[in-house]
């Protein structure tokens, strides 16, 4: 064990409690902490919460709904950060059962955002007695919040010596607070970083103690800027300590049922992962070459889907970088083990230059976002950006997509060296991109503009630099204020909806339909697409109610999956979740029940968006870059494909047309298709043509509370 560090911590507020025992996945209490006025209290979990909102994202949205006003902004003290795992979070027998979901009003979208994250905080929070943590208020000085289950105390403390950047604060606090060597295993820290203070896309890092490396490691709640809210509240870190974790810590109703399913999936991963996705060797990095092969890898701000240098950053490269043979799960029992790390990476830039650090990742989204999308094909640069984004508390997806937008603006003449403070932000200039990253941390130079995110950069570029707004609206890959994650959607109308028709903004966790739609042509009609955009968002976000990770659902499949009726749903694995939910809670459920649980929370979130001013049809609009070629250059790069579509889908003869005319004609067609898709999806979801959940839908789902119905009635 490393030498203990001492800090001059000072307790500002203290609360003593007798930790509630977990029973069938719930403790029955949530913890409320107001870092502004020092209020700390236990709040009961009601039957409505358990029956209608389940846990995780559901609990987060429920607490947030009643914590904020209609006009609450992200940086108002009453905005909350709610962290909850869910009833199945903390079981150790089934891979991917330790997730936490964080909910808050986003600085990017200004509506509720949910962000899922691995690491041990959520499960340990439960084992310290709490189904959720609800943070509110704004501290005057930087504070840390310590939830000590074994001691039965919650404290808000000043700790001026504790650093802000995550890799330092995580190590510091674990060494400071662990009384014994084993204590480190059952202590988890949440931290953001200096970048989160200065930007709108701050992330939260959740720690887990890696017993093989004997060091804390971190997973990120990346999307939506919750790290920004965290630092705005002047929270430096959260710490939770629990008693040692055991196989029955989550007190399931039927551990045997869970163990049977869990050991079966472990076996499946053992037998098939190597021949399927090799998650155990390379995590999600295997996707780079697949996306490149199918013209789906974002290149140069989503202009293209393929690049001749993609092999320099594909899965084989990362398998060589990642230390092999370590069980890299972010919660106990995850044998999918995708949380890989590069060990002893020597930093080349910035305040920690020369230090040898653990880089957590990179994962596909980071590789594609800060790599190919920015024209960067140098692994060192991807690792450098990955590490610094994490420790500064910045979302790598927003960083990558935002930087790609800036680089296109630079190459299009919207920006120049004068405007960027001397940085030549052309595609592929890794050094310049990294300097912007450090500027965000230091809150200086062009980094101050970049830190505002793509949505607000558009305004700045128009108002201060005289840019053409229409062009920026087309190429800035953001919707609802959040940057896109890293897939090219131009040839999949269903996936355009999979990004646009989301609750929190364009993140692929709701639906990933590109192969079904574009490659396999399984969704030929609008009704087919609408059905997929009903089922998959409901099913895929169900994981976030319960504490599950999505990856073990479909990143390994049984060998006979292709012969099933609906192979894209992985029916055997869906059944696993039915069994596990029942095994934990004691409630027998069906697949339809799971989807309905999710539908309830999903619709509640949609109404919440409307309540805060951004949940109608107009807010589901997407930038044209996600739907088709914006520029002549883009069109001509795939002219054969687009000309064919003009002939066959639009009924035009492209011969004799200028490229500009062809771009315009294709655009008119594609935008019309997207409108039709919205109509079909809204109808399937039980919403009005304006995207508003109908009162009868809310009634059927059991969330026709007066204040919820009142929100939708204004828009009927």
């Amino acid at each position: 064990m490393a030498e203990r560090v001492e800090t001059n911590r000072r307790v500002l507020a203290e609360f003593s409690y007798d930790p509630a025992e977990t029973e069938r996945g719930y403790t029955g209490e949530t913890l409320y902490v107001n870092v502004g006025d020092g209020t700390i209290e236990a709040r009961p979990v009601t039957d409505v919460m358990k029956e209608q909102f389940i846990g995780g994202r559901g609990f987060g949205l429920y607490r947030l709904w009643y914590g904020v006003e209609d006009d609450t902004k992200w940086d108002d003290p009453e905005n909350e950060i709610v962290i909850s795992s869910g009833p199945c979070g903390g079981i150790t027998q089934y891979p991917g059962s330790g997730k936490s979901i964080v909910v808050s009003i986003s600085p990017l979208t200004e509506i509720p955002v949910d962000s899922n994250v691995g690491g041990h905080f959520g499960p340990l929070l439960k084992f310290a007695g709490w189904d959720a943590l609800e943070l509110q208020g704004k501290a005057e000085k930087d504070v840390i919040v310590i939830i000590d289950g074994p001691a039965g105390t919650v404290t808000i403390e000043e700790a001026p010596d504790v650093p802000v950047d995550t890799h330092l604060v995580g190590h510091w606090l674990i060494e400071e607070l662990a009384e014994t060597e084993d204590d480190r295993y059952y202590t988890s820290v949440v931290a953001a970083g200096t970048g989160a203070e200065n930007s709108r896309f701050g992330c939260l890092n959740f720690s887990f103690y890696d017993r093989h490396r004997e060091a804390p490691r971190f997973k990120q709640a990346g999307r939506g800027g919750i790290g920004t809210v965290f630092r705005d509240k002047r929270i430096k870190a959260l710490v939770v300590k629990s008693d040692p974790v055991r196989g029955d810590s989550n007190a399931p109703a039927d551990r045997k049922r869970i163990s049977e399913i869990g050991s079966k999936l472990h076996r499946e991963i053992y037998k098939y992962d190597d021949e399927q996705n090799q998650m155990r060797k390379g995590g999600t990095s295997y996707l780079v070459s697949i996306m490149n092969d199918y013209d789906l890898l974002p290149v140069h701000n989503f202009r293209y889907g393929r690049h001749s240098e993609a092999h320099k950053i594909d899965g084989d490269v990362w398998q060589d970088q990642f230390t092999q043979g370590i069980p890299d799960g972010c919660w106990y029992g995850c044998t999918m083990a995708c949380s890989h790390a590069v060990d002893k990476y020597e930093l080349r830039t910035g305040p920690y230059k020369g230090d040898h650090v653990i880089v957590d990742g990179p994962e596909y989204e980071t590789i594609a976002g800060v790599g190919s999308n920015c024209g960067i094909f140098e692994p060192w640069a991807i690792m450098e950006i990955n590490f610094y984004c994490d420790t500064y508390g910045l979302d790598t997806i927003s960083f990558g997509t935002g930087m790609a937008f800036v680089m296109e603006c630079y190459e299009a003449g919207v920006l120049d060296k004068e405007k960027t403070g001397g940085l030549e932000l052309t595609f592929g200039n890794a050094e310049a991109a990294i300097e912007v990253l450090h500027q965000v941390s230091r809150n200086e130079g062009f980094g101050k503009i970049f830190a505002q995110g793509s949505h607000r950069m558009k305004d700045i570029f128009v108002e201060e630099f005289g840019a053409d707004r229409a062009f920026l609206e087309d190429i800035a890959m953001e919707a609802k204020g959040m940057e896109y994650s890293e897939y090219v959607t131009k040839e999949s109308l269903a996936q355009q909806g999979g990004y646009g028709l989301t609750n929190k903004g364009p993140q692929h966790d709701e639906a990933w339909l590109i192969f079904m739609d574009q490659i396999s042509n399984l969704l030929p009609t609008f009704e087919d697409k609408a059905e997929a955009l009903h089922f998959f968002p409901m099913f895929r976000t169900w994981f976030g109610l319960c504490g599950f990770c999505k990856l073990p659902w479909n990143d390994v499949v049984p060998p006979d999956n292709a012969e099933t009726d609906e192979p894209q749903k992985i029916p055997a694995h869906v059944q696993n979740y039915v069994e596990i939910f029942a095994g934990v809670t004691g409630q027998d459920v069906t697949e339809d029940d799971l989807v309905e649980q999710s539908e309830t929370v999903y619709n509640f979130q949609r109404v919440f968006n409307i309540r805060l001013g951004k949940g109608l049809r107009e807010h589901d609009a997407i930038p044209y870059r996600s739907a088709g070629p914006v520029t002549v250059e883009e069109y001509e790069s795939r002219a054969e494909r687009y000309d064919k579509q003009l002939r066959e889908d639009v009924g035009l003869n492209p011969e004799g047309m200028t490229t500009e005319e062809k771009v315009g004609a294709l655009r008119e067609h594609r935008e019309e298709q997207y409108e039709k898709l919205m109509d079909a999806v809204y109808e399937r979801r039980g919403w009005t043509r304006n995207g508003v959940p109908r009162p009868e839908k809310l009634e059927r789902l059991g969330i026709d509370f007066p204040d919820v119905v009142a929100v939708v009635e204004e828009h009927l």
Binding site: T92, Q93, D182, Y185, R211, H212, P244, V245, R246, G247, D248, R255, K256, S259, G262, S263, K264, L265, H266, R267, E268, I269, Y270, G325, I326, P327, G329, Y332, G333, C334, T335
Partner: protein
């Protein structure tokens, strides 16, 4: 290393080994709690038990599995979180679990079964490398 060795030609499937094992470790006679399992038919029996190959050690997220001084792979119960990763990843499926038990279990080459075997089909041997599974 010290390992258990099995001679199928001598085995009469009397199951004394299973009974002795579960009784030693769990104080009850239950083949599902035995760390050695006799499978196959009476004419062609085979035994399933750990050959101490150690592949499970690297799979354990809590460093609960280790090889002791005698070369036997053992579990530190106080570190085990019951995740069953080792159960799924045992090449020979001889890391076992039971609903009554919070942690998995495996042969620790204690020799009780060999002592109880009336036909001397089981014996303890010292080897340099793990024996092929089932031998």
């Amino acid at each position: 290393m010290r390992v258990l060795s099995y001679d199928a030609e001598r085995c009469v499937v009397c199951r004394s080994c299973e009974e002795a094992c579960s009784n030693t470790f769990f104080r009850e006679v239950d083949a599902e709690k035995s760390k050695i399992r006799i499978r196959g038919s009476e004419d062609a029996p085979r035994a399933e038990f750990c050959n101490q190959c150690g592949e499970c050690i690297d799979v354990c997220p809590t460093v609960a599995l280790y090889r002791d001084k005698r070369g036997v792979v053992r579990l530190r119960r106080e570190l085990c979180v019951g995740c069953l990763s080792c159960v799924g990843f045992c090449p020979y499926a001889v890391m076992f679990w039971h609903a009554d038990e919070s942690v998995p279990f495996k042969c620790v080459a204690c020799g009780v079964c060999a002592r109880e075997c009336p036909e001397e089909a089981l014996e303890m041997v010292e080897v340099e490398e793990p024996l092929p599974f089932g031998q």
